[in-house]
């Protein structure tokens, strides 16, 4: 064993990679130099456009929020990063304050009147992060903030009141009598009022919805039990004798509120900006002033109008359906319709919103607004679909429904039966039954169990937006895969070549020719030939739009051109032409992920039926499906997003796994929609679950987590039902008193907590 030396960061003492002195640029900068960074203007500052009014208006946050601008800093990962970014005022005088949100990887920046947003972005970039300014409507944290604060205050008030009620009730249990007993009970009554009118509001809301939509949820029995408990106790208080349950009722409200807040906070991390790969929102576009003049201005995505002429750079998305003005262009359609190989378009053809340009610079003219574009239409259906997503009845709600029916039936039957013996006692005991049979342990155990499970999933790189997906997943019978980007890598890899071994000097020539290119072929070559260099001196180096690259190296003229899809159709072939003669051919295809075939097999063994739904060409889809072992009648190719959606709709208990904008509809329709790594924001928003690790293997971890959660849930429900039966039974036999209830309540809650924690270990 070699001794490990200098493996810790000299600044923050975290372990470093390859024995470097600092773990990240932040630490190095902090240790070596903190000083103002000079202002830079347009050509050197890539963010100069941010100072235009259109952009500052777009990004400025309301006066209510923490800062004027919120910037997502990609790469923020340790305490030094927090420290460094909060020192922004030291780097730029016009920054009044910078506050980091570590969980979200964002910095809120307050600027003076003449502060420049462009320079802030530039400074952040200079400090070693990739800044992205977040507009107010994309700032999800902000939208949760007020809701979270309100919830927290409701909890605080419930906690204060419940705690004090318990203190005042102890002397009563201990045998206090007379005027002071009355006084203490009245104080309990007064302390219960804030809970009734303020803290319990979420339950009223839920109970009201459950009546309105005729789908009984657990809020209804809680509300009923709480109101019954309150009215019953108040009635007995006024009469001056009988049972008073303020303490038990108050404390279960408090506990349920806490468990729900916990689940809520954990679920909120689902759409942190770090996971967003935005399709448009953060993009800027170059608008040409008028034909013939090459002058351009930068405008935000939202300002693009019909008939605008735009200059699209390599890697940018087409913002709306548009006509191609340049002669040729290569576009990557994989996110738009799932086609795995780039496609060449010629002048006058319509380019669809959501496809990505691979050519270095093309001109387009916008033909429709985004809303009317094909993608915009899909988005519209998506919004409508959100409201009509079919209702799922969770185990907890299902049980709550049965419980409320059974309890009311027993209470009424008992009252009728016992009334002939003693009307007053009958009334007392049936009301006590309703209070005690409240499924509070159930209502409190479920969010706790789900919260713990969602948190555990997050550590495994699985983000769950809606915890009920954990239950739904166990019912899934049909699994639908998107092909491009889900079963396959979604980008090209070099599969073979002629000659089989490309000599190093040819590799160098090819890499040098491809050096400025954003074409997937260029990326594939760079990752395939890591040992060769791309530094050759090329004269007359230019892109043949939609065809390839050309240039002259040491007097020899080279062209790197695609000769269309090769005989296999599932491959893309390019050839290197030297002075008009082809000397080398390279073949590329979108390869299957390493674990796809194995994962599909495993799912089949679990009894799941697997399908492939793809927008790609038939031959490619069938080849991939075949390699994964998915039969031909379960493979569907050349589908539009709507077709995918229809197929998913036909099969009940479905799970859709996909990544592209074209999958968003079916992700939403499926009972469980899973977005895989590299998904665009559109599909992320409509999916229920997001895998931050590539490949399909997280599915199985998720599945076993679901099983585990289900087991815990069933155990909790059994425990709480046992509690309800005992409590209810005691109430009916007239054996219950408030003291016993006050002991049973925390006991059952403690049992549920232990059971939940044990289940999530």
């Amino acid at each position: 064993m070699e001794p490990t030396t200098a493996c810790f960061c000299q600044y923050c003492e975290l372990p470093t990679i390859d024995g470097a002195a600092y773990c990240c640029a932040a630490c190095e900068t902090l240790a070596l130099h903190v000083r103002p960074i000079p202002m830079t203007t347009a050509p050197n500052n890539a963010f100069a456009y941010l100072d235009q009014k259109e952009f500052t208006d777009l990004y400025r946050h309301s006066a209510l929020s923490d800062g004027d601008y919120i910037i997502y800093a990609e790469g923020l990962h340790c305490s030094s990063c927090v420290h460094l970014l909060e020192k922004l005022p030291n780097f730029y005088d016009e920054v009044i304050e910078a506050r980091v949100n570590f969980a979200q990887s964002t910095v809120s920046v307050k600027l003076t009147e003449k502060g420049s947003l462009a320079h802030v972005a530039y400074v952040i970039q200079e400090l070693g992060y990739r800044p992205r300014v977040i507009s107010p409507q994309d700032d999800l944290e902000e939208s949760y903030k007020l809701e979270n604060r309100r919830y927290l205050i409701q909890i605080a008030i419930a906690g204060f009141c419940a705690g004090n009620i318990m203190l005042f009730v102890i002397p009563v249990y201990a045998g206090l009598t007379g005027i002071w007993e009355q006084a203490f009970n009245w104080i309990s009554f007064l302390l219960f009022l804030p809970i009734l009118f303020y803290s319990a509001q979420p339950f009223y809301q839920g109970a009201w919805n459950s009546l309105k939509y005729k789908a009984i949820n657990v809020d209804l029995p809680i509300t009923v039990a709480m109101l019954t408990g309150f009215l019953f106790s108040t009635y007995n208080l006024i009469r001056g004798n009988g049972h008073i349950y303020f303490d038990s009722t108050a404390s279960f409200i408090f506990l349920i509120l806490i468990a729900r807040y916990f689940l809520k906070r954990i679920q909120q991390t689902y759409l942190a900006p770090r996971q967003m790969q935005s399709l448009f929102q953060t993009e800027k576009y170059q608008r040409l002033f008028s034909a013939g003049i090459t002058k351009t201005e930068l405008i935000p995505w939202s300002h693009i109008q019909v008939s605008d002429r735009l200059k699209i750079l390599a890697g940018q998305n087409i913002p709306a359906d548009a006509k191609l003005l340049s002669q040729r262009a290569t576009l990557d359609l994989s996110l738009y319709n799932g086609e795995s190989l780039p496609k060449v378009f010629t002048e006058g053809m319509t380019l669809f919103a959501g496809s990505k340009s691979l050519s270095s610079e093309i001109e387009i003219q916008i033909e429709t607004s985004f809303k009317e574009s094909r993608l915009g239409q899909i988005l519209k259906t998506l919004d409508e679909g959100a409201r009509t997503k079919n209702k799922f009845i969770s185990l907890t709600d299902d049980l709550a429904k049965k419980l409320i029916l059974v309890v009311f039936a027993i209470a009424i039957l008992f009252f009728i039966g016992y009334a002939s013996i003693d009307v007053h006692e009958a009334f007392n005991r049936s009301l006590a039954l309703i209070v005690l049979a409240c499924p509070c342990a159930l209502a409190f155990g479920s969010p706790l169990t789900f919260g713990l499970a969602v948190r555990k999933a997050q550590r495994l790189g699985i983000f769950i937006k809606d915890s009920s997906s954990l239950e739904k997943l166990l019912k899934v019978k049909n699994v639908f895969f998107d092909k491009t980007g889900t079963l396959t890598h979604g980008d090209l890899t070099l599969t073979h070549s002629e000659p089989t071994d490309v000599p190093l000097e040819l590799q160098n020539i090819i890499l040098s020719l491809e050096a400025p290119s954003y074409h997937p072929v260029a990326f594939a070559l760079r990752s395939a030939w890591t040992s060769s260099s791309s530094g050759l001196n090329i004269k007359n180096h230019h892109e043949l739009l939609g065809k390839g690259m050309s240039g002259t190296i040491e007097g020899e003229h080279y062209e790197l051109v695609s000769f269309g899809e090769s005989a296999h159709d599932s491959e893309l072939a390019i050839s290197l032409v030297k002075n008009g003669h082809s000397i080398c051919r390279l073949y590329f295809s979108d390869r299957l992920r390493e674990d796809s075939a194995e994962s599909v097999q495993k799912m089949k063994n679990m009894g799941l039926q697997c399908f492939v739904l793809s927008g790609d060409k038939k031959s490619r889809v069938f080849e991939s499906a075949n390699a994964c072992g998915i039969s031909e009648q379960n493979t569907f190719a050349e589908l539009y997003p709507e077709d995918k959606n229809e197929i998913v709709r036909m099969y009940p208990h479905s799970c859709m796994i996909g990544d592209g904008a074209n999958d968003s509809l079916s992700l939403q329709t499926a009972d469980v929609g899973i977005a895989v790594k590299g998904s665009v924001d559109l599909s992320l928003q409509s999916a229920d679950i997001y895998f931050t690790r590539g490949g399909l293997s997280p599915f199985f971890e998720l599945y076993s987590l679901s099983l585990q959660t289900h087991r815990t849930l069933v155990r909790n429900l059994t425990l709480s039902l046992a509690y309800n039966t005992i409590g209810g039974g005691l109430a009916l036999f007239g054996l219950i008193n408030p003291l016993l209830a006050a002991i049973l309540m925390p006991l059952s809650s403690a049992l549920i907590i232990v059971s939940s924690l044990w289940g999530a270990r």
């Binding site: 927090v82 969980a103 903030k145 604060r149």
Partner: protein, 51 residues
């Protein structure tokens, strides 16, 4: 027992004061971000660099 007439309101006012303080802190955003302060505290501010 008459001391209770004084003690009980006092106790409630004291408790209420803490609730009020908590509500104030919540509204000020003290509990919005629970992760960053844990990192912020780790580094001393070097005074000589302040503006």
């Amino acid at each position: 027992m008459n001391i209770l007439i004084l003690m009980i309101p006092l106790a409630l006012i004291l408790g209420g004061g803490f609730v009020a303080a908590f509500i104030w802190a919540t509204k000020k955003g003290q509990f919005d971000d629970l992760d960053t302060p844990a990192h912020r505290i780790l580094h001393d501010n070097e005074r000589n660099n302040s503006r």
